[in-house]
Symmetry: C2
Subunit: 472 residues, 2 copies
């Protein structure tokens, strides 16, 4: 390496090399280079023999695990499940917890009108667009404690790693906790990042959006201490270029990394999601008294449509196409009453937007023909969102690759089939994502799990990537 | 008619003839017989010109309609829908309302350990087994105000009719309001009458039964003021022969009487109901990340089974076989989560018990094969109840027929496809049922409706039937 580099750039090399130093034992090639100082030389931290190889000196794995476990206790359902819904009491407590940890990491904290939380580490060139990382901490009913959380607590820990390494950022670094990545309460996914990306459609929708208790989004936000002034939601919008880069750390939510024994997934594209709400209205009536030929059963129409969704997805012939009916409600929901109404919420995604939209068309055709056949009314077929896929930024992909290499971690390029706040941050900033392995690919269920060693690896790759990007 | 009859029997003829007297205008054959006294001569009530023919002098139709409308206001959902669930605040208020009306009708009121309410008019031979009539007032979510209610308020009004006619019962007459005919809260239909009929199985089940809020039946009953002493539920059991006869007045819940313009349906048999609870357990996971071939979707298994129920019912080839999936729940019920669990509640009925049981076998076979095919687990296939059909007592059928004839009302013999507390009262007493027309056969929905004229006709037929049976 050249010594003509500016001191700031030297620092990052120190970070790189010192983080790499623990791989000496596993024979990392440059380890005998006299120019390399070990982490303890660099940071003055004592080497802790109890730490395993993958539990890097620089990542305080124990503390990070402790934080993940503590955050999981802010839940509306019993452990091991986690349920943390937007603007509920548990969500508000969890937000306070995150702000405290940001504070402890020396970040200056601010929040916007919908509760996106920002923790800033001022760079020595504070006028440059900052580099950001973050994710979400809301959890769908009966899910797990790693989805999103790893990308918030892990990113804060990445800041700690860099601080301990003595690194000083040129561009400011910001950690973002996004509001409501999950659609649980208001049926809107990535609410915070979508609004930051300047969605006028969402801004309009939020004026009238209510939850299933008929509580308006605005009232819910206010009850949590946000959206205090009238019509200030537009203030959440970000200008394109507000950030020089955005990198999100996340569990894979799929089985590939674990199956292949690879440490890090580098995301090149995020699949394009769409969600649809469907309502059928039928005749209802008494389950004993109304004979079969006289029925217009809205529940059976819903059952048929659910199976049609699966069929059309398979018919697409592509492994990358998925479709799910996660919600199917019957009314009046009584064993001795023929369903007079049914409601479905359908999620479909693909890395190929056109192919996904074709599947949506087919689903609509089925809904129409099923309604006709059963003499029920297709009261609603509403495509709630139909987002385009997002591509990762090439220079960020390169930064993540080189970070993995420097850390001697195996990596693979992959597609994110789940979507994330990164999908929307890509509209205002160059974007990249780092995946880590998770147990059997389980996610959105209590069994969701990632080894702290894998999380720590992700944190290191993130730390290095942020360091590199902040110096650009 | 012979004057050698005992005075008590003479009275009943007075009742018959006086009730018939209003048909004079429509040319009832015996009207010119000098032996016949008109109702006003008999009861001293002034003839109300505003009353139509079918609004009998003796039935206070206005007051009865007022009571039906008042009772409907004790509901947990907005009018016109009615939701009145066992032992809820609204149910307890409604029970008080019924006890008051029984009191106003001069009945002596008592309740048993589960809240079956009895209003007794002592006969002049009080040691004879009484004759009873009654129904229920609980209402499934978002249903109507006539199902059951007509058989409770109508039966009390029948007592008023008999009192006003000067009639004195030989056997005591009892009006019964049965507890929880609907299975809404605890999944057990005809809970009160089933227990009165001495079901040991139910007695055992009630020790451990909980609602979906995990509130035990016992705690719920206590909160409503019942089941005060430990293990006193057995006290609800009735000995066979406790009643000389039981007659229930009810809306048809089917379209036949209205379509054919017939005033009264005389029930000869009640179809045999069965209900089944099914649980599937699958893999769950993230709706984006888990590819279709890796899924074990418990929701789609439920959808398939719902359609299989319909298929097997049609395959039975009988118009009298019905099957319904009124409840289909998904877990965790999130749009972006593959259902890891599903729960169905299936209702199937037939007038032919064997044919119905064959359908249940087929449904079970489908559940097993669907689970196998989809790699989900059939965690539960539980036949909650599988009751035999009940036949009406011949002498009661004859009494109802003659009452209809005496009142110059058209009638037809028919089967009850809905089941009723009568199905279980048939185990301890000779049983009969009187149906009245209802709008389009609508039931278990807000549009449920019966003309007060039709209700009044039913009350008169019931009054006359009870009078005849009480003299036997």
């Amino acid at each position: 390496m050249s010594l003509k580099l500016p001191p700031s750039l030297m620092l990052i090399f120190y970070v790189v090399l010192s983080l790499c130093s623990i791989y000496a034992v596993s024979g990392y090639k440059d380890v005998d280079d006299p120019a390399i100082r070990t982490m303890e030389e660099f940071s003055g931290y004592p080497f802790d023999e109890t730490h395993s190889n993958t539990q890097s000196l620089s990542v305080d794995a124990e503390n990070l695990q402790k934080q993940i476990d503590e955050l999981a206790t802010f839940s509306d359902t019993p452990a091991p499940s986690v349920t943390r819904v937007l603007y509920t009491e548990k969500d508000v407590i969890a937000r306070r917890y995150i702000k405290n940890i940001m504070g402890l990491a020396g970040l200056s904290v601010r929040e916007d009108a919908v509760g996106n939380i920002f923790g800033r580490w001022e760079g020595y060139e504070p006028d440059l667009a900052p580099v950001a990382s973050g994710s979400h901490i809301d959890a769908i009913p009966y899910s797990g404690k790693y989805d999103g959380v790893v990308g918030v607590l892990g990113a804060i820990e990445a800041i700690n790693v860099l601080r301990r390494s003595g690194f000083k950022p040129k561009r400011s670094l910001e950690i973002i906790m996004f509001t409501s990545e999950e659609p649980t309460r208001f049926g809107i996914s990535c609410l915070g990042s979508r609004l930051m990306a300047g969605s006028e459609m969402l801004l309009k929708a939020l004026e009238t959006t209510v939850d299933n208790q008929n509580i308006s989004f605005i009232d819910a936000a206010r009850s949590a201490g946000y959206a205090q002034e009238e019509n200030d939601l537009r203030s959440v919008f970000l200008k394109k270029g507000s950030y020089a880069a955005f990198v999100e750390l996340h569990i894979e939510q799929g089985p590939l990394l674990e199956e292949e024994g690879i440490s890090v997934g580098i995301v090149t594209a995020i699949a394009a999601p769409a969600s649809i709400k469907v309502d059928f209205k039928g005749g209802g009536g008494h389950a004993g008294a109304v004979l079969m030929p006289h029925r217009n059963d809205a529940g059976l129409a819903a059952a048929e449509l659910a199976l049609a969704v699966e069929k059309h997805v398979f018919d697409s012939g592509s492994i990358d196409t998925v479709g799910t009916v996660g919600i199917l409600d019957l009314h009046p929901r009584a064993i001795n009453s023929i369903p007079s109404k049914s409601h479905l919420e359908i999620d479909t995604r693909d890395i190929d937007e056109e192919r996904r939209n074709k599947v949506i068309e087919k689903i609509h055709e089925s809904a129409v023909s099923i309604a006709k056949k059963r003499g029920v009314r297709l009261a609603e077929f509403n495509i709630i969102n139909q987002d385009p896929p997002a591509l990762s930024d090439v220079s960020i992909i390169e930064a993540m690759k080189s970070a993995s290499k420097e850390l001697n971690l195996t990596h693979k390029l992959m597609i994110s089939r789940a979507y994330h706040d990164s999908l929307f941050m890509a509209r205002v900033s160059p974007m990249g994502m780092i995946f880590i392995p998770c147990f059997k690919g389980y996610s959105h269920r209590p069994e969701e799990f990632s080894l702290i060693e894998d999380i720590s690896n992700g944190v290191k790759v993130l730390a290095l990537t942020l360091a590199q990007l902040s110096l650009k």
